[in-house]
């Protein structure tokens, strides 16, 4: 059979690839599952975890699907006895250097290594080695915990920090079996260039890089929480976030116990967040938070009221000023925490309804 310029065979089926596409992206697109650990679509592939190795005719060695570009006429095989043996023995080896008890391991995020070991029925009887990677247990930063025992040295966190966040606050340190993730001089993240974006947590496949607060507060593991997709209200970018809700907490009223980012490639923010969006969620259940409209009574004291009443009072007040002093006596200031759409509506209100150009937003200077 003659293949076109942009075709190859994947498990015997002829498929078309786009220029520059890797075997992994092609396979994913075709619904063929290839397991990975060090891969993240936001990062340059490095082929280090060895999980995604497949067979390509003409190559003696197994080939990393995450780095290997599709080329015309290539014959790719993702399932056979050799690949099964590879996946099982690799996972078995990983598991000699990793805790195996899911309850102990998954206090926070789900652990993809355990998932893969289960999925491929890796032997778990090869014995265990003592953990020797160093951590930074005394790091006083409030958000990020590095549990070195769970680290598989995939360097996703390090590469994310360098390639996406572009601050290189963390590095692979030491070498060989002692390879770990460190900061310069093992300083607290607070004393580095770290921006507390938490991206290192998001990319970590095992939960080695994890969020402190849900752990210290003894919240349920992420697997048992319900995810509610919403828009972050800290700024106008419109990042999508997933509220992780414990439905039973808070006397059955439910509670947001942590925030995670949606998978990369699915939302406008591509799985990225900033320190506020990811970690500053305590305001949600804060007792000081305004939860109903307030209007001043005759004594100048704020009193709860209905939305209808509050809006009516606002409309009346604005119209009264405009009538007495002219439209330009009014000024409208909106917030950078509003979305673009909300800011648009604010200027519409100023210009089209009240006929003034006096409109501003706190981040527009």
């Amino acid at each position: 059979m003659k293949l076109a310029r942009n075709q190859l065979t994947l498990n015997g089926k002829t498929v078309s690839f786009t220029d520059g596409e890797t075997i992994l992206t092609l396979a994913n697109r075709m619904g063929v599952h290839i397991p990975t650990l060090c891969h993240d679509p936001r990062l340059d592939p490095v082929g280090a975890c060895r999980m995604c190795l497949v067979e390509v005719t003409g190559f003696n060695r197994l080939v990393p699907a995450c780095t290997q570009k599709a080329t015309p006429g290539m014959e790719v095989i993702t399932e056979n006895a050799r690949i099964t043996r590879h996946r099982q023995t690799l996972l078995a080896l990983y598991m000699t250097d990793h805790p195996q008890d899911r309850n102990a391991v998954e206090k926070g995020a789900p652990n993809q290594l355990l998932d893969l070991a289960e999925q491929y029925q890796a032997p778990l009887n090869w014995g265990r080695m003592l953990p020797i990677r160093s951590a930074r247990d005394d790091d006083r930063n409030p958000y990020i915990l590095f549990n070195a025992d769970l680290c598989i040295s995939c360097a996703r966190c390090v590469r994310y920090c360098a390639e996406v966040e572009r601050v290189s606050a963390i590095t692979l340190a030491n070498r060989g079996a002692s390879t770990t993730v460190a900061t310069a001089d093992n300083a607290s993240l607070l004393d580095t260039s770290c921006e507390m974006c938490g991206g290192c947590i998001d990319v970590c496949p095992t939960g080695a890089m994890t969020e402190k607060m849900p752990l210290t507060r003894n919240h349920k593991p992420e697997r048992e929480l319900r995810k509610v997709r919403t828009t972050c209200n800290y700024c106008g970018v419109g990042c999508q976030i997933d509220l992780n809700v414990d439905d039973i907490a808070n006397d059955g009223r439910g509670m947001v116990v942590k925030i995670t980012s949606p998978p990369p490639g699915t939302t406008v923010n591509d799985g990225n967040l900033c320190v506020k969006g990811r970690f500053a969620y305590d305001f949600i259940h804060h007792p000081d938070r305004l939860t109903q409209p307030l209007v001043c009574n005759e004594n100048g004291e704020l009193q709860p009221t209905t939305w209808d009443d509050a809006l009516e009072k606002a409309v009346n007040g604005l119209q009264a000023v405009a009538k007495r002093y002219g439209a330009d006596a009014l000024g409208f200031v909106s917030s950078s925490r509003c979305t673009v759409e909300e800011n648009y509506l604010m200027q519409k209100l100023a210009r089209a309804v009240f006929h003034t150009n006096n409109v501003h937003q706190c981040a527009a200077t």
């Binding site: 590879h86 023995t89 078995a92 090869w126 040295s153 590095t171 030491n174 060989g176 310069a184």
Partner: protein
């Protein structure tokens, strides 16, 4: 050169190693992120453990000669000491590293005499360093049938270089091709293919790199060559640079090669004074204590100032090398063969060998009378080599034909030609031709443990099969040695699967060959594993 050279490892060295705040200072100086500086410093043992002023070699050959006792004596004397990987002085055990100077042949008594003052160890060794020269063979100058001729006086006339400069690149490459010169760094890859590949790249900026990181346990020929015939190396480099169109030559010498580095730098001056190197630029770099940087792509990373983690191949350095430019990388010995090939022709060189082209520097250590470096026709047998080295000590039990990576062969394989092909056919390799001889006093399980510890210490840690596998196998063997194996500890029962995984899935040659020491010993010496 149109890039900024990154000197991160050198700058850390100048600051006395990776001490607190050094990352910050080097970062300020270079613009490289602090964390990245720290990552580099912590990778290299000579930088990360700068407080260790003495290091005792625990390579197999030194161990067989009692390195353990030397180490223990140093610990007892309260010296700032730690064990280290092979120091390329296996012919003169026990080797000790003081700062960055190798002191060969150290005895327990000498350690005791220091009285705890590390600077006092064999003071007469520095400077000079001649004490490091080992036995060579042939030991007298011989011009007829040797490509290297270690005993010969350095030749600064540049005859071969002058001849090469009058020839076209294609002509030179044709001569190299006809010589059938194979790389002497380990893989035995035909040299001319790499020269041709670099020469024919469309990118005009190309580099030549000399791999003098010699760290394979049992190997010390490059040291001998650098000390005795640096003329051959510099002339070979200049010829290679001319042939592939490079203006910059990078020398990467292991950090422990302080004397060899001086020797080759002097040789460059010698040729320069004679106006022979024209506009060729030489840049010499010291390694910082990492065997893996002998792997060519890890070496390139280290030259670029990064952690020495091998790159994925392809692309190969001939296409994407140093700073992404086409790069010709050769072992010291490969390059040193070039001048005589140019002078005397490809056929001459080819016919020097017995089963493959050329003469070869064989390093031999362990249980033989005169460990050393012997230049012999490629393809001689172990017995012939040992005869040059004065004969066996005791009864031959096993040998490594090409360093730790080549595993062990039993005495009955003593008649195999020590060449790339024949050894590959029995699942071993010629590698760096670091031959280690073990007599029947050696327990193979113990010997395997030495090799596995080396690989575990020197794994870069990038890929799981090697990072975890080397440690697993070492712990499994140790557990057997101490009788401490349990259901829950690494176990030799699984060695075959672990080895399979390491061979199949490791990124580079270290992980791909590390298990061979164990699997070959288990095959050939089952009685030692009962």
């Amino acid at each position: 050169m149109n890039h900024i050279k990154s000197d991160v490892p050198e700058l850390i060295q100048q600051q006395g190693g990776l001490k607190p705040d050094v990352s910050k200072q080097v970062s300020r100086h270079t613009g490289v992120a602090e964390a990245d500086v720290y990552g580099v410093g912590s990778f290299f043992h000579l930088l990360s453990r700068s407080d260790k002023k003495l290091r005792v070699c625990t390579g197999l050959s030194c161990q067989m000669a009692g390195a353990d006792k030397v180490l223990q004596a140093a610990l007892d004397a309260g010296l700032p000491v730690e064990p280290c990987s092979c120091l390329a002085a296996c012919d003169q055990p026990t080797a000790v590293l003081r700062d960055r100077e190798v002191i060969p042949g150290v005895q327990v008594e000498e350690i005791k005499q220091t009285g705890g003052d590390w600077t006092k160890l064999k003071q007469e060794m520095s400077p000079g360093g001649k004490g490091w020269l080992g036995h060579i063979g042939p030991s007298v100058e011989n011009d007829g049938d040797l490509a290297i001729n270690l005993a010969g006086a350095p030749d600064w006339s540049g005859t071969a270089l002058r001849m090469a400069l009058t020839r076209s690149a294609n002509h030179i490459i044709a001569i190299i091709k006809s010589s059938e010169l194979q790389g002497r760094g380990g893989a035995g890859f035909p040299a001319h293919i790499k020269w041709q590949a670099v020469q024919s790249q469309s990118e005009p900026e190309r580099y030549v790199v000399l791999n003098a990181d010699e760290g394979e346990p049992g190997t010390f020929k490059d040291r001998e060559l650098l000390m005795r015939r640096p003329d051959r190396i510099v002339e070979g480099l200049a010829i290679a640079a001319h042939a592939v169109g490079a203006k910059d030559v990078f020398l990467y010498l292991r950090g422990e090669f302080a004397y060899p580095k001086k020797s080759i730098e002097l040789a460059i001056q010698q040729f320069r004074q004679r106006g022979l190197l024209a506009d060729l630029r030489f840049h010499s770099h010291s390694g910082q204590g990492a065997y893996i940087c002998g792997e060519e792509t890890a070496l390139l990373e280290a030259l670029e100032g990064k952690r020495g983690m091998p790159r994925l191949k392809p692309p190969f350095p001939v296409e994407v090398g140093l700073w992404g430019k086409p790069t010709l990388i050769h072992n010291v010995e490969t390059i040193a063969c070039v001048p005589e090939i140019i002078k005397r022709g490809g056929d001459w060189f080819k016919n020097l060998g017995r089963t493959a082209a050329g003469t070869k520097l064989y390093c031999i250590s362990g249980h033989v009378q005169k460990p050393g470096t012997y230049e012999l026709p490629l393809g001689i047998t172990l017995d012939e080599l040992v005869e040059s080295a004065g004969g066996y000590i005791g009864k031959l039990k096993a040998f490594c034909p090409g360093g730790a990576s080549s595993g062990f062969l039993p005495a009955d394989k003593r008649n195999i030609a020590l060449d790339f092909q024949a050894l590959a056919a029995v699942g071993s390799m010629l590698g760096s031709a670091g031959v280690i001889v073990l007599n029947d006093t050696v327990d193979m399980k113990w010997a395997v443990g030495q090799q596995l510890r080396f690989f575990e210490d020197e794994s870069c840690g990038q890929c799981a099969p090697c990072r975890i596998g080397t440690r697993y196998l070492r712990e499994a063997v140790n557990a057997e040695l101490n009788g401490s194996a349990t259901m829950h500890s690494p176990n030799l029962k699984f060695a075959e699967d672990v080895a399979w995984q390491m061979n199949e899935a490791s990124i580079c040659g270290l992980g791909q060959t590390a298990s061979l020491a164990l699997t070959s010993a288990m095959t050939y010496f089952p009685e030692d594993f009962q």
